[in-house]
Amino acid sequence: MNGLHDLGGMHGFGPVIPEPERPVFHAEWYKRALAMTVAMGNWGRWSIDESRHARETLPPADMVNLSYYERWTAGLVTLLLRHGFVTRDELREGRADANAARETPALTGPEVAAVLARGSPSARDLDRPPRFQPGDRVRTINAHPPTHTRLPRYARGHVGEIVLYHGPHVFADARAHRKDAPAEPLYAVRFAARELWGPGAEAGHSVTINLWEPHLEPV
């Protein structure tokens, strides 16, 4: 979707403000918001792509007004409701419906380190070779789906060069909407800054973007 999350190349957001390495969390509730999102994600009911899309589809005013962890929390509420972990009544009442089905077991403290260290790799096997090789020139498709896509708006319809082949990875654009999404060859595609931004950009600069095979056409 062409949403307010797709910020590459936008003007008007002001300067970037540096900050020291610590503190990691600027408020106590940030810790709980982060940890709840990680812990609930461990149930495996939604992919990271679906959770991204849940945040992207927040109302535009929320996209601008809410802070980062507020948006995470709002996205989590969307997912909790969609996947039946909680009901609207439970959220409104603030207590569990005694008749609701229980799910077990929840992630425990001692399991956390191993769960984080394992993560959720997106690499997959695929029974066909990649269509492109490093060095190939490709053009990105010009598509504007209302659904999730990882092809940023600023990079559509532009010509770049494959610089890395990452192997097959589950296709994010599809996985945001269905769990059994296929894998597609994933590439790092380098675009000259002038190709993306016109003659105002500096010669020699580039932007490299990870794109899946369905995003690309031969030139």
Binding site: V16, M36, F85, R88, L91, P152, S206
Partner: protein
């Protein structure tokens, strides 16, 4: 998007509850959700504590600094890092969530790398921890790809006019870490001393390693 402070200037607290009946104050909202999920047995507060402890005390940019210092001092390691960054980083014990697949990109004379995620805030968690506020900000996400010298200037970094800036937009589960150039005059330093020179920002490409004390 525009800010990440507990109480942003443009925040509206004139309503007590959101559309779901949850408190609109974010701290109260988050507590209400946690209380409900704990009551339902869906989360264990001890697991949340362990997750917070992991990202506050174990998983952060000091991990990445170890990778960089090792790459600076061990040519074989550097080769392994080039060949398979994820595996070379896992050798040091760093792996998993938010960095299941990592590519290390190396600065060199005349080449400077910069990492951004324009679509959300993808960041190499196992080696750099959680992203700083500025990395998640609309200001950084919008400008890094179109005006890299401008965002570097905000951080006080001025690169030579002929330096090639390579921006990497983290649009997939491949995450990046920048291997900055080893500072001059550090030939006598060991891995731990070198790691202390490696700032978080230098591994995003928004800074340079600290200079050695003269």
């Amino acid at each position: 998007m525009a800010h990440d402070e507990p109480h942003g200037a443009h925040h509206h607290h004139d309503h007590e509850h959101d559309a779901h009946g949850l408190p609109s104050e974010p701290d109260l909202k988050v507590r209400a959700i946690e209380t409900l999920l704990v009551e339902k047995g869906l989360i264990d507060p001890a697991a949340l504590d362990a997750i917070v402890d992991s990202y506050e005390n174990r998983i952060g940019p000091r991990n990445g600094a170890q990778v960089v210092a090792r790459a600076w001092t061990d040519p074989d390691y550097r080769e392994r890092l080039r060949a398979d960054s994820t595996a070379a980083i896992a050798e040091l014990g760093y792996s998993g969530r938010g960095g299941e697949h990592i590519v290390a990109v190396e600065n060199a004379p005349g080449v400077h790398n910069l990492i951004v995620c324009t679509l959300c805030s993808c960041y190499p968690w196992p080696v750099l921890g959680l992203p700083p506020t500025w990395y998640k900000s609309a200001a950084y996400r919008s400008r890094a790809v179109i005006d890299p010298r401008g965002v570097l200037a905000d951080f006080g970094v001025t690169l030579p006019a002929d330096t090639e800036i390579r921006v990497w937009d983290s649009t997939s589960e491949i995450r990046y870490i920048v291997i900055p150039e080893r500072p001059a005059g550090t030939e006598h330093l060991g891995v731990e001393e070198l790691a202390a020179l490696v700032t978080r920002d230098s591994m995003v490409g928004m800074g340079l390693p600290k200079a050695v004390a003269a």
